[in-house]
Symmetry: C2
Subunit: 224 residues, 2 copies
């Protein structure tokens, strides 16, 4: 496996996050870089989904990935090996989330801005990352079938801030008590505008639909 660039993220305690987030969003808009913030529980399948998604998107878009993790660089290496796109690891040093200032440190650590889409894989956590605007153009979360259809009831903010909810591991629906209609109802109770796309990152089912949705959102954003 190849090695990847690792950035040790420093936290600026007193930054006004909302202002930083809006500034970063403006800067990215000027550069034409769409930043997607991907959040989920640990083990929901963020990295596997990204690999399938990037391999579907990379013929149309130039993509880079920032992998935030408390420790280890396994995910950044996995992404780089499996997709060939530039992937850097952001070490949060124990922090449970990324804020806009930390995200900017990652963006500034990219080799260049010859890129259409930067995907930030946030720390695996349904609570804290939802509280901090990273400056992303879109928030996406993955809910995997084994976690259960009640997650939007228990982690309301995550579902409020995400306009794209991917239901992953649908190849295991027969093994778990998971009600697809119920989960859609629970998600839309938190966010009536959320787009919900069921996929299996393992089998590839639904990845084309997810890729098309993102391409269409990026096109709309470019015209804004």
């Amino acid at each position: 496996m190849e090695s990847v660039k690792i950035i040790e993220i420093k936290k600026s305690v007193f930054s006004a996050n909302e202002m930083d987030a809006n500034e970063l969003r403006k800067e990215l808009k000027e550069k034409g870089v769409f930043l997607l913030n991907l959040m989920s529980s640990p083990g929901a399948g963020k990295t596997t989904t990204l690999i399938k998604l990037i391999n579907e998107l990379k013929k149309d878009l130039k993509i880079k990935v920032m992998e935030a993790d408390i420790d280890s660089d396994v995910d950044a290496i996995k992404i780089k090996d499996a997709t060939g796109v530039e992937s850097i690891q952001l070490h949060t040093g124990g922090m449970c989330h990324l804020d806009a200032e930390m995200t900017k440190q990652g963006i500034d650590g990219l080799k260049d801005f010859d890129v259409d889409l930067v995907i930030l894989e946030n720390v695996g956590n349904l609570v804290c990352p939802a509280e901090f605007d990273t400056g992303a153009c879109m928030n996406m979360t993955i809910l995997s079938v084994p976690e259960g259809d009640d997650k939007p009831l228990k982690y309301p903010l995550m579902y409020q801030v995400c306009n794209l909810v991917v239901i992953n591991k649908i190849d295991t629906l027969s093994v778990f008590d998971f009600d697809m209609d119920k989960v859609k109802e629970n998600i839309h109770m938190r966010n009536p505008n959320a787009e919900i796309i069921p996929i299996s990152a393992k089998t590839g089912e639904g990845i084309d639909k997810l890729a098309n949705f993102l391409k269409s959102e990026i096109s709309k954003w470019r015209k804004m």
Copy 2:
């Protein structure tokens, strides 16, 4: 479904958590109450495991449960309905973890101290709860098979602070790429003394072993 007591937890920002935790532990020892702090990712099966475990233990031990959640009281009601034991809900008001002072608010909210074992179901989160000593006598975490065997690599602190790691959903081992030897190695790398018990809360497999381990730990603690 019956209703349950709900406590809105208030956070004391400036408390010295370590001191509070040690005080609470001492108080609980004097009262003969063993406090078990249960942590995991969202959807790993904390509540289902607790129901099976309590039904196995309740003939030998008097048990009460405190369910910490950001919102909702579905878990406390589920536990009360399925086991008959007193179960109170702690609302954290958005907080991603419980500290010792918040735990004490829960303990003080119990009807009485005629109890051998209090189980605290912490907020579903592999990051923040690991950073705060709740005053518990033992920390337990659940890692479910669908989450993957690499979690101890990515969330080191959680596995360092837990002396009991339950591997749940082993009835789904054939559906996921999960290496039981590898996960044991990864856990013991973080904590060589961790007891590892594979179970299926769904089928009941391994619950007797988990119950016996806890009974034996509680006996040892009483003699300390």
